[in-house]
Structures are given as structure tokens and as C-alpha cells.
């Protein structure tokens, strides 16, 4: 009889144990505070310009040299992109200063944003690294952009000299972008 009781107690305990799940405190509302900060780097444009790139057919200086690129930009990352940081590395062996400007245009061809500050490249400068940032408040401009125009502005020389076709100087530029995402509950 004693053994029957022991068996019943054992079985009852095991049944209760197996049917009764316990939990410690969890708070699923914490998900509202979760954010994952992820940074991606991407290679961008590069330039290797020589004297003919700054001269027209008559070998006269072109003060502003421009080109444009039209990448497809979708809204998928819009809620999460917080900042973009451009790294620009320049090297200039010309006896002339350059300014580098990047302007964002919308689908109507209207300029909507100019990357600030405009990058100054001093004459005869060895490798210079400049970091330019698009802050969080300006991020919407990226998603309204249809194309980007890159302009290189040739500053006047101080001594009145001009670039000659025979000039072997070079203007090199390398660039990359760092995209800062914050994946969080929207």
C-alpha cells in the first residue's frame, strides 16, 4: 500500500512538473528600444585627370569641368539611413587650386542640395584626405535625387599662368562612402 502511495505521489509530481511551465520576467516591449547600428562602406568615383581634361579644343582653360552620374535610388533604406560620410582623397601636382563640388538634382533637373563644405584642393598638394558628411536632417535629399553632378572648378592662377597642353601635372581623386544605418522599429 505504501508503495502505491509513493507511486501516486511521484506520478502526480511528474504530471504537475510536466504540465506547469514557469517563466521568469521578460519584457517584449523592450523591442521598441532595440536598434542595430550597421555601417556599410562602398567604393565611389575616382579620377585621373591630366592637362587636356582642363582645356578645350582651342587649348583654352575650362574653368568648370563637370560630369554626372545617375544611379537608381530606391526608398527601401530611407527609414533606416541616418548619415552618409564621404571620404575623398586628392593629390594635385598642378600649380593651380581646385574646388570640388557635388550637386544633387531632382527629376525636374532642379538642384536641390550641394554637398558642404565644397572641397578645396590646394596647388601642388600631396595626398589629402577630406571627410564630408550628409547629416540626418539632409538625408531626404538623397531620396529625391535623380542624378549627381560632379564639378571641378579651376581657380585662377595668382601669377597669370595657364595650363598648357604639354603640362604633365596630374589631378587624382579617390573616394568612398560610409553609410550609417539604424535598423529599429518603425
Amino acid at each position: 500500500m505504501k508503495n502505491i502511495k509513493i507511486n501516486k505521489i511521484t506520478v502526480t509530481a511528474l504530471v504537475i512538473l510536466s504540465l506547469m511551465g514557469c517563466t521568469k520576467d521578460v519584457d517584449f516591449n523592450q523591442l521598441d528600444d532595440a536598434s542595430i547600428h550597421t555601417t556599410f562602406i562602398s567604393t565611389l568615383i575616382y579620377l585621373n585627370l591630366t592637362a587636356p581634361d582642363f582645356l578645350n579644343d582651342l587649348n583654352q582653360e575650362i574653368r568648370v569641368t563637370s560630369d554626372f552620374i545617375e544611379p537608381p535610388i530606391t526608398d527601401e533604406t530611407k527609414p533606416y539611413l541616418e548619415k552618409v560620410e564621404f571620404t575623398v582623397i586628392t593629390k594635385n601636382t598642378f600649380n593651380r587650386n581646385f574646388k570640388l563640388s557635388i550637386t544633387f538634382y531632382d527629376a525636374l533637373g532642379t538642384p536641390i542640395y550641394v554637398l558642404q563644405p565644397i572641397i578645396n584642393v590646394p596647388e601642388n598638394s600631396s595626398e589629402l584626405t577630406t571627410i564630408v558628411e550628409i547629416p540626418k536632417t539632409d538625408i531626404p535629399y538623397i531620396y529625391n535625387t535623380k542624378y549627381f553632378v560632379f564639378s571641378i572648378i579651376l581657380s585662377p592662377s595668382t601669377d597669370g599662368s595657364v595650363i598648357l597642353i604639354s603640362d604633365t601635372s596630374k589631378f587624382d581623386l579617390k573616394s568612398s562612402a560610409k553609410l550609417f544605418f539604424n535598423y529599429r522599429k518603425i
Binding site: 504530471v15 520576467d25 521578460v26 568615383i45 575616382y46 560630369d67 573616394s175
Partner: protein, 458 residues
């Protein structure tokens, strides 16, 4: 939106988190359901009928990476610190898995030649994803570590929903051997299959630009059927029902098993389940990506007379270097093969100290070792179990298990089976230690069911 319904459903399943190891139920109490785990199991019934829809309900889920409690514990630690800690302890590749079965019909009877014929129909959902750490790091940290290769080599996904009509025969060859075989007809509702992927993404210092970025030896294939629809087919309950009931992608499989009484008290059992395939031919859409590509960026030419479509050229270069394609060709998917084995030693008396007659078998106690393994192209899994099974009284049988598997080395399981008259009910669950805090469990499973079992009076 409708065509993504199943994808959303799968993502929900993914969140729950699998194995197909039914270590407590295996060879337990002569239950009819043990025949599904070993068609060569011994049953002593004259016939049985499972309670429709309730003869076996089972669900198993698990994630080897971290537990719900690791992330959502209300312990004053910032959730972002807990996510970071979970990512830091993430292995080379962790897997998330889920398996659910619902037996809709189950029955069996003894043939005049003493063989036992069992049959039935069940629905099964099976999901497994193997996620390499590289992909977690790429999502969590980004790609700012130069020369770090983010590989998809261990990325694998398998998901399917099938209806299974089956019939099996358990045959006593002699006093020592009992053999069994079960034939299955599968009807697939959906299938997703991606395996043997390779390739990596990395960034290194460039020559012309600051960085050069690579897609290296990429070879990715994901096959799907019944997931993406273009003909406006409605995805609702009647759709799923029709596909489960042989309107889906059809296949065939076999289970085989045995029970061998090595001696009076030692018994060895074994089975191989789901050696089979499904021919996926309906709503097939598969995606392939392969090739190598490297880019240093766009070199602007500043030539106003010949403006270039830089992005178009980049895309053309990418398209020429890689293959991105969608295939609509039918494919064969293989079911994950399950292996079961056990060695057990029976002991104790037919009549126990309480003066009741146990009425079944010679021994009251059984203990032993079980081995379970799934073998699949997507993922293989192995688990070892120690067990003790006992007749508690003539109506009640219990089984206690300890299992070591990739999820845990502290998995205790427990099963109970009662039979009063013809009415049988059973319940089995594992990971009992985690009942103290179920949110901290990396895996859990249960099986329960009701049968009507008619004994052979001879």
C-alpha cells in the same frame, strides 16, 4: 501581397524557431504512434483507431544560437547590450528549426496471418535554416572590416508543408525478429530548398580607388514551389486543404524498421524513415546567382561631347560577369532521412510488490540508450538519449529521458501513457529543466494524443 502570404508565414515560423527527434515517444508503451517512428515496432493490439485530429499532435522547435530570455529578460540590461552579447557568442553557423505534425486519421488492425497493418494520414510542416555567422556579422556590423570575407558557404534553407498518406506492415518473423515497412505518398503544399551555396563578399584596398569590392565565386540556388504565384491563385484554407489532399506536388517515400530480441532481456531496435522524394512541378520558381565580380568604382571621364551612362555601364559589366536568373523548371526535393536506433535492457518482475498484475510483457522496467539522426543535404543532426521506462501500475506507463543534442546537454524528457479499457491517452515533452523558465529554452517539443486500442484477447 497575396503571393507573399506564404513567405510571411514562413518568417513567422522562423521566429518560433526544430528537430524531429521524438525521443520520449520512440518505442514507448506500445503506442500505435511508435509505428510511425519504427514500422518494425511490436504492437499487441487487435486493432486501434486514433481519435480523428487528436491521435497525434506534435510540435518541436529550437534555435541553437540564443534563447528568447537572452534577449527579452526584464533584468535592467539594455536590450541592445543583450543583442550584442548574443551576437558575440553566435557560433560559426547556428540553425533554427521547427517541425509540426498533426495526425488527421490513424488506424490499424491485425491481419489473419498475425501481421499488423497500420495506416493513416498526417500533415507536416518542416522548416530549417542554417545561418552562417558571416551573414549575421554583415547585417549587424556592416562591411567596414577590410579584407574580411563574408561567406554564404554554410547558408542553407529547407521548408516544406506536406500531407502524408501512409500504410505499413509490422511482421513478426520469429520470437527474435519483428520487421516492418511503411509506404508513404506525399502531397506537397510548398517547398523551399537552398543548399550547397558558396561564395563570399569582401572589400580590400584598391589600386585606382580607396577600395576594391569583390563578389568571389558566388554560387547560390534557391528552389521554390508553391510559394510564388502569378496566376491569381487564392492562398486560403481550401487551397492548403486541396494541396494537402493530393492536389499538390506528389512524391513517394518508405520507412523500414526492426525489433530484435537479442536475448530475453536485451532488445535492439532501429528504423530509417522518409527515404523519399517529392517531384516539385507546380508553381515552381527558382533563383540562381553565380559568378565573380569586382569593382573599384566609377572613373568619370568629364567628356561633355560623349556623356557616358556610368551606372548603365556598371550594370552591364555586372550582368556580363554574373548570372542572375529565374528558373521555372520542375525539381526533385528529398525528404530529410531520419535514423532511429535503440538498445534496451528489461528487468523487474511481472508481478510487482503492490500485488497488481502488470498485464503486459515480462518486465516492469526498461532502460537503455537511443540514437537519433537526421541526414539531409541541408543539415545533419545527431542526438543521444538515455532512458528509463516503467509500468507504474496496470493503467499507467512512464518514460524518463536524458538527451544530449546540438541544442543542449541538459535535456530531460518525460512521457506518460494511460490505458483504461480501450481508451488510451499519452503525453510526452522534453526540456523539463527549462520549465523553470521556458523563455530560456533553446528548444522544446511535445507530443500528445488519444487512441482507442482494442487488445487481442488471444
Amino acid at each position: 501581397m497575396r503571393k507573399y502570404s506564404l513567405i510571411i508565414f514562413l518568417l513567422l515560423v522562423f521566429a518560433i524557431g526544430y528537430t524531429q527527434n521524438k525521443q520520449v515517444l520512440y518505442d514507448f508503451a506500445g503506442l500505435p504512434q511508435t509505428l510511425l517512428l519504427n514500422p518494425g515496432a511490436e504492437v499487441e493490439n487487435k486493432f486501434h483507431v486514433g481519435m480523428p485530429l487528436f491521435s497525434q499532435v506534435s510540435a518541436q522547435g529550437g534555435f541553437t544560437g540564443f534563447s528568447t530570455y537572452d534577449i527579452f529578460a526584464d533584468n535592467g540590461i539594455d536590450i541592445n547590450d543583450k543583442i550584442k552579447a548574443a551576437v558575440n557568442k553566435y557560433g560559426t553557423a547556428e540553425f533554427v528549426a521547427f517541425n509540426q505534425q498533426l495526425e488527421l486519421l490513424s488506424g490499424g488492425f491485425r491481419l489473419p496471418n498475425n501481421d499488423y497493418l497500420s495506416f493513416g494520414f498526417y500533415e507536416e510542416v518542416d522548416f530549417l535554416a542554417k545561418i552562417p555567422r558571416d551573414m549575421v556579422d554583415l547585417f549587424y556590423e556592416g562591411n567596414t572590416v577590410i579584407d574580411r570575407q563574408y561567406s554564404i558557404k554554410k547558408l542553407a534553407i529547407r521548408a516544406e508543408m506536406v500531407g502524408v498518406l501512409h500504410a505499413g506492415l509490422s511482421k513478426k518473423i520469429n520470437e527474435k525478429w519483428n520487421l516492418g515497412i511503411r509506404a508513404k505518398i506525399y502531397s506537397g503544399v510548398f517547398n523551399i530548398n537552398s543548399k550547397s551555396n558558396s561564395g563570399s563578399f569582401y572589400t580590400e584596398e584598391g589600386t585606382h580607388n580607396i577600395y576594391r569590392q569583390h563578389l568571389d565565386n558566388v554560387n547560390f540556388l534557391m528552389q521554390t514551389s508553391g510559394v510564388i504565384f502569378h496566376d491569381g491563385e487564392e492562398i486560403d484554407g481550401s487551397y492548403v486543404k486541396s494541396k494537402l489532399l493530393f492536389g499538390g506536388n506528389l512524391g513517394f517515400g518508405v520507412d523500414v524498421g526492426f525489433t530484435h530480441h537479442y536475448s530475453k532481456q536485451w532488445t535492439i531496435t532501429g528504423s530509417i524513415l522518409d527515404v523519399g522524394f517529392i517531384n516539385n512541378s507546380k508553381n515552381v520558381e527558382s533563383f540562381i546567382a553565380k559568378g565573380d565580380y569586382q569593382v573599384e568604382g566609377v572613373q568619370l571621364s568629364f567628356d561633355p561631347d560623349n556623356p557616358e551612362n556610368y551606372w548603365g555601364d556598371l550594370k552591364d559589366d555586372f550582368d556580363n560577369s554574373t548570372v542572375l536568373d529565374t528558373l521555372y523548371k520542375s525539381y526533385i526535393s528529398f525528404r530529410p532521412v531520419k535514423l532511429n536506433g535503440s538498445a534496451s535492457y528489461s528487468f523487474g518482475q511481472k508481478y510487482d510488490d503492490c500485488r497488481f498484475f502488470t498485464d503486459r510483457g515480462l518486465y516492469v522496467n526498461k532502460m537503455g540508450f537511443q540514437l537519433f539522426s537526421t541526414v539531409g543535404a541541408v543539415h545533419s543532426y545527431i542526438a543521444g538519449t538515455l532512458f528509463y521506462e516503467r509500468w507504474i501500475n496496470k493503467y499507467l506507463q512512464a518514460k524518463l529521458t536524458y538527451t544530449a543534442d546540438p541544442y543542449s546537454f541538459s535535456n530531460l524528457g518525460f512521457g506518460l501513457s494511460t490505458k483504461i479499457g480501450i481508451f488510451n491517452t499519452y503525453f510526452a515533452a522534453d526540456n523539463l529543466l527549462s520549465l523553470q523558465n521556458i523563455y530560456d529554452a533553446k528548444s522544446a517539443s511535445f507530443q500528445l494524443g488519444i487512441n482507442f486500442i482494442f487488445e487481442d484477447k488471444n
